[in-house]
């Protein structure tokens, strides 16, 4: 079959920024094609090039075998349903729909016939003489579709037409659009960022990212066999696990070997393993291919969404020493001052500066009258590069001073390594009121403890997702407290009708064909 529309190596540049990086795409007659991608991926730009509202920087567009770059928008055999409909506000429904026909100077009775037939198709025959400004979003949408279709285009372009509608109306219009497309039997090119919309409506989905096509295929193809992690994530919820392809039909992840149906990868190639939540089953732990602890159970109407953790995240616990010191008061100078004890690594002693000491001790001086901060002019200490406790004194110009201890340790940092992930944090000192005044305590705790986690393989930071502590921040009293920082481990989302109790150990089972192997993204 000959394609109706051919994009050949389309490049589009806006002010030196490349929005489309060489798009090649064939679209056939009677297809419902969806351009799917997040905002800024170039999908609307591609549509506008086809509509004739933008010129490509490079490349050709063929329509029915003809190169159409120099054909102006008003002579192209495509019609568009615009994102915000762009209905003419000075015309009623009938005149909006009749616009294209009037331009073509078609006789009045035929215009009336065609417009009325079209209004019937979109279920608006009662509304012919309504003011478009008084119509609901869904109705305006139908008018826009009728206005475009009445011209009998070979291709209808729809630019995120359902974006402004609420969820219920959107579902209705999705069905409606599909029905209309089947009824009129022309090509629809539909732009959206909503993967569900794309999956339910399309014959063919084109997944785009940053001006490039990632994958073209039927909804089932794209859902079941995404070519990379990006497509898999974008097209729907998925479990994506790192693995190694040992040989054809055999993959290893979570330190276990599994049979699969994929082949053609290099030996020991690092891959992403995709398993759809609905392909996983919860079984007794002895029968599972993987086992883990149930972290959460959510009822989703028909099924449960169960999160099973097969491998805990890396965690670390540090001690927070809470003091109840009051600020030092200098009555005559009307100044207040406060500072905390702090820990220090031996290796950091050499490079210690006054500014660093002030920051570490969180030393502050302020006026008792205006609350304004006053600078600390002098930091005196006698620190040695040996373990021990050293006093340090902060002084302002007015002579207010305050002394705290620097505790020099061999290695203050506590590290924890597991599964090629490292987490570290430091013991720290705080005051009661600092904890009570904190508005984002978990974030503050991370900062105070200098908590960080790293992926050792890829040398990238890993998010600390959980901060646990054993105190009540509102009513904290002086003393020592434990604070634990944790990363997320390996979690599997399971969609199943079986129920499982939280915190129980369960097994996960799946079939070889449920494993989808994707090569690691080579672009980005």
């Amino acid at each position: 079959m000959k394609p109706l529309i051919q994009f050949k190596n389309i490049v589009k540049e806006f002010d030196g920024q490349i929005v489309l990086k060489g798009i090649n795409l064939d679209i056939y007659e009677n297809e419902f094609v969806t351009l799917l991608g997040p905002s800024g991926c170039g999908k609307t730009t591609l549509l506008r090039i086809l509509g004739g509202f933008l010129d490509q920087t490079q490349g050709e567009v063929y329509f029915d075998g003809q190169e159409i770059t120099n054909v102006p928008a008003y002579r192209r055999e495509v019609n568009t349903v615009f994102q915000k409909y762009a209905l003419f506000p000075h015309m009623d429904v009938f005149d909006n729909v009749a616009f294209g026909l009037k331009i073509k100077k078609i006789s009045k009775d035929i215009i009336e016939q065609k417009v009325n037939r079209m209004l019937k198709l979109v279920n608006l025959e009662e509304y012919a003489h309504r003011d478009v400004k008084e119509m609901s979003g869904g109705q305006q949408q139908r008018v826009a579709i009728a206005r475009a279709l009445v011209n009998e285009p070979k291709v209808l372009l729809l630019d995120e037409p359902l974006g402004a509608l609420d969820l219920k109306l959107r579902k209705e219009m999705q069905k409606e659009l599909k029905r209309i497309q089947q009824e009129v039997g022309i090509t629809f090119i539909f732009v959206t960022h909503d993967q569900e919309e794309a999956l339910t409506m399309s014959d063919k989905i084109v997944v785009m990212k940053e001006g490039e096509i990632q994958q073209v295929g039927t909804p089932t193809d794209i859902y079941n066999e995404p070519v990379n992690e990006y497509v898999a994530n974008f097209i729907g919820e998925s479990n994506i696990i790192e693995g190694v392809m040992l040989k054809d039909y055999q993959v290893m992840f979570e330190d276990k070997k599994f049979e699969c149906v994929d082949f053609g990868f290099k030996e020991n190639e690092k891959v992403d393993v995709v398993i759809r939540p609905e392909d996983l089953d919860i079984v007794p732990k002895s029968k599972g291919k993987l086992k883990g602890i149930v972290k959460s159970v959510l009822f989703k109407g028909v099924h449960y969404e169960i999160v099973v953790e097969t491998r805990p995240g890396t965690s670390i616990t540090v001690t927070m020493d809470v003091k109840d010191d009051k600020p030092v008061v200098n009555e005559s100078a009307k100044e207040l001052m406060s500072a905390n004890n702090f820990n220090l690594d031996i290796e950091d002693v050499k490079e210690l500066t006054d500014a660093e000491i002030i920051a570490r001790a969180d030393a502050q001086a302020w006026s008792s009258e205006t609350d304004e901060l006053i600078s600390i002019v002098k930091v005196s200490h006698d620190i040695q590069p040996h373990k021990g406790t050293y006093p340090v004194t902060f002084t302002t110009a007015a002579g207010t001073s305050c002394t705290v201890n620097m505790i020099v340790k061999d290695q203050n940092r506590v590290e924890s390594k597991e599964y090629a992930e490292e987490i570290f944090a430091e013991d720290f000192f705080k005051k009661v009121d600092e904890i009570q005044d904190s508005v984002a305590l978990e974030t503050d705790l991370k900062i105070w403890a200098n908590a960080q986690a790293w992926d050792l393989d890829e040398d990238i930071p890993v998010e600390i997702t959980t901060v646990d502590y054993d105190f009540d921040p509102e009513n904290i009293t002086p003393g020592q407290y434990q604070v634990t920082f944790k990363t997320t481990g390996y979690e599997y989302k399971v969609h199943t009708t079986d129920y499982a109790e939280v915190d129980t150990m369960v097994g996960l089972s799946f079939n070889p064909e449920d494993i989808h192997i994707m090569s690691k993204e080579t672009f980005s």
Binding site: H90, F99, I103, R147
Partner: protein
């Protein structure tokens, strides 16, 4: 809410003192005879009857409206294309154009009119240029043409800015939709751009027609007595003859005529919008 309402009191008082009271005084003068004092008031319709039975005054009234009308039409014909191309320009040039158009209005209108007097009078700049071209010398001061010319000069910015602001806020997606539906540039102008810009044209007409119908400085300076407009008549009654009663009556008549003509314009606009819908 009550607190906020109270904040409007000073403005209400201001409005009463500066707007409502003078209007009431005009009303009072128009319906009373000359030489009244506080104790004795004689009401009369004589002032109106005098105006309506005096052919000279009626002719002046007709001339005023004729000149105002011609001025307005010329302003639309020049102002619309100017506003249209301004709206098409890039942002940078739009601001420059805006500045150029509003710049003359920073200078007092009287001063600008005096400047034109100098340029248009015998031996002035225009006369000399026309002389070199072999068309002159020509008497320009004192003709209706010169009065209309200076009026157009003075009032054109109002027309341009009204139409421009209407055009600039028009969503470009309407034009894309028109092109998408097969309309070329000319067709989309007449079917989409122009109808959508009509509110700007209407308010432009209001802003030009009103002052053009009631001005007296321009006709006095450029008309040099041979072009008498109703504004000059009113001015004469108030300042020269001191007959405030007749002056007030004519002012009232003018106000009524203007209100009626504005009402008709608005109505015509609405009807044409309705008719466009009904076709």
């Amino acid at each position: 809410m009550k607190k906020f309402a109270r904040m409007a009191y000073p403005y209400a008082i201001w409005a009463i003192v500066m707007i409502v009271l003078p209007m009431l005084m005009i009303l009072f003068y128009a319906f009373s005879t000359q030489g009244n004092d506080v104790v004795q008031v004689r009401l009369t319709l004589d002032n109106f009857i005098y105006f309506l039975t005096e052919p000279v005054l009626l002719k002046v009234l007709a001339t005023s409206f004729k000149i105002a009308l011609i001025t307005t039409v010329i302003c639309v014909l020049i102002g619309y294309p100017a506003a249209y191309f301004m709206a098409k320009l890039g942002n940078k040039y739009q601001n420059l154009m805006m500045l150029l158009i509003t710049l003359p209005t920073w200078i007092n209108m009287l001063v600008r009119t005096y400047a034109w007097l100098g340029m248009l009078q015998s031996g002035g700049l225009f006369d000399t240029v026309l002389g070199y071209l072999g068309i002159g010398p020509k008497q320009m001061i004192g003709t209706e043409g010169a009065v209309i010319f200076v009026m157009v000069y003075n009032f054109l910015p109002f027309m341009i800015l009204q139409i421009y602001s209407q055009l600039i806020k028009m969503d470009t997606s309407y034009l894309e939709a028109a092109a998408d539906l097969g309309a070329d540039r000319v067709q989309s102008f007449w079917r989409v751009t122009f109808p959508l810009s009509l509110p700007g044209v209407i308010s432009g007409i209001t802003l030009v027609f009103l002052p053009a119908a009631s001005t007296f400085q321009i006709s006095q300076l450029i008309g040099q007595g041979s072009v008498q407009l109703i504004g000059n008549v009113i001015e004469n009654y108030f300042l020269t003859t001191g007959d405030w009663n007749k002056g007030s009556a004519i002012s009232l008549i003018m106000a009524v005529i203007i209100i009626i003509s504005m009402y008709l314009t608005k109505k015509a606009d609405k009807e044409s919008a309705g008719k466009r819908r009904a076709v």
